[in-house]
């Protein structure tokens, strides 16, 4: 685990007069000997090691597999003919290549929105039925996403964003990553643009660094012990935005797709290791 002492000035400022003056009177800038010797991270590492195996997300994968292969909905069809981008029924490696452009719906979809498309077209459900209670622990949609993601185990993330709309969304996603708003002035970049940072003791991936981005993106969906539930990347992003004290973006909305296209692009080449287990 990378670790830095907590002495750096928060944001590097390039050559501004103001910045220079301010650095001189910055009250928090000095290195403190106190607090530096407190290193609880070894203790936390042992905790994580002891939880490495036997991930309760395996229960979600089992439920997801049953949902994939069981006839459901008004048409009593399974999802086994669902095209996740690699052809009907091809599930292995599909997650690692999402989000992507789907010509049949003429838009870029992530795994959740693609599954909803399959549930509506193949099984005859309404979108409301397909997404009902999806944020509840153990929801059908989260179980399905976990099952599909598990079928990309070891497959490198491959979201080059070459289709024009994918490329547009990647660019939009980058702007959104840096877009500060709300009563705490937060953007994704506030917490996720530097190496070795933590909120309390939780490590924060730096999505400007491909290696760090891979470490994060390859391990979602993940069982979150604090929630006793598997969370998908959409769910993770919605909650980050809630914690930024901004309103909830809608499920499947372009904002969530754009952020995911950009994040996956940053993480390209990382071998999928989902489902993960996180705090």
């Amino acid at each position: 685990m990378k670790r830095r002492s907590s002495d750096a000035i928060a944001v590097p400022i390039r050559g501004g007069i103001v910045a220079t003056i301010c650095a001189g009177i910055l009250l928090g800038g000095a290195v403190s000997a106190l607090g530096e010797d407190v290193d609880p991270l070894n203790g936390i590492q042992k905790y994580r090691d002891m939880l490495k195996d036997d991930n309760p997300a395996e229960l979600s994968e089992m439920s997801g597999e049953a949902l994939w292969t069981t006839p459901r909905g008004p048409r009593q069809a399974t999802l086994e003919a669902c095209d996740l981008g690699l052809g009907p029924g091809v599930i292995e490696g599909a997650y690692a290549r999402l989000p992507r452009w789907f010509p049949d719906v003429a838009r870029v979809q992530d795994i959740e929105s693609r599954l909803v498309t399959c549930m509506t077209t193949l099984q005859g459900m309404t979108a409301e039925q397909a997404t009902k209670d999806w944020t509840n622990p153990g929801s059908d949609l989260e179980n399905l996403v976990t099952y599909v993601a598990g079928k990309s185990l070891g497959v490198p993330i491959d979201v080059p964003a070459l289709h024009p709309r994918e490329a547009e969304l990647a660019a939009i996603g980058e702007v959104l990553f840096f877009r500060r708003a709300g009563p705490l002035d937060f953007a994704c970049a506030t917490c996720h643009s530097q190496d070795g940072r933590r909120i309390r003791l939780q490590d924060l991936p730096n999505f400007l660094d491909p290696e760090s981005a891979r470490g994060s993106m390859t391990t979602w969906p993940a069982y979150r012990v604090s929630q006793s539930a598997v969370w998908t990347m959409e769910r993770r992003l919605i909650d980050c935005i809630r914690q930024m004290r901004q309103p909830e973006p809608e499920f499947g909305s372009e904002l969530l797709i754009a952020l995911q296209v950009w994040l996956q692009k940053q993480a390209n080449g990382g071998a999928m290791a989902a489902p993960g287990m996180k705090r």
């Binding site: 036997d54 309760p56 395996e58 229960l59 089992m62 439920s63 622990p137 069982y223 006793s228």
Partner: protein, 103 residues
């Protein structure tokens, strides 16, 4: 009926090592939902493990076992091909029983 468990039973020498994940909310009765209402207690109280009809472990649990419980233990006298069965009963009288083959 609860959801299926995930059971692994592996023979290593004279031992069989068993690892179980159970799908259960293990509600303590002290948590509140988004509306501020207490969520009623709902938790597994007893677990029994058998191998070829012989009891190899029993457990009594309270509300402090984590949600989606994990249990690992080892016993002697089992062999590849034996059936290991895990059964739980919860505080609402609901139960679940699943088995796997020792590999």
């Amino acid at each position: 009926m609860g959801k299926p468990m995930k059971i692994r039973a592996r023979a290593a020498g004279e031992l069989v090592e068993v690892k179980v994940l159970m799908a259960h909310p293990m509600e303590s009765g002290r948590r509140k939902d988004a509306a501020g209402e207490l969520i009623p207690a709902h938790y597994i109280r007893t677990v029994e493990a058998t191998c070829a009809e012989r009891v190899v472990l029993t457990a009594q649990w309270g509300t402090a076992i984590s949600a989606n419980p994990f249990l690992g233990f080892k016993f002697k006298g089992g062999a590849k091909g034996d059936k290991v069965r895990i059964t739980w009963v919860d505080s609402e009288g609901d139960s679940r029983s699943d088995e796997t083959t020792v590999v």
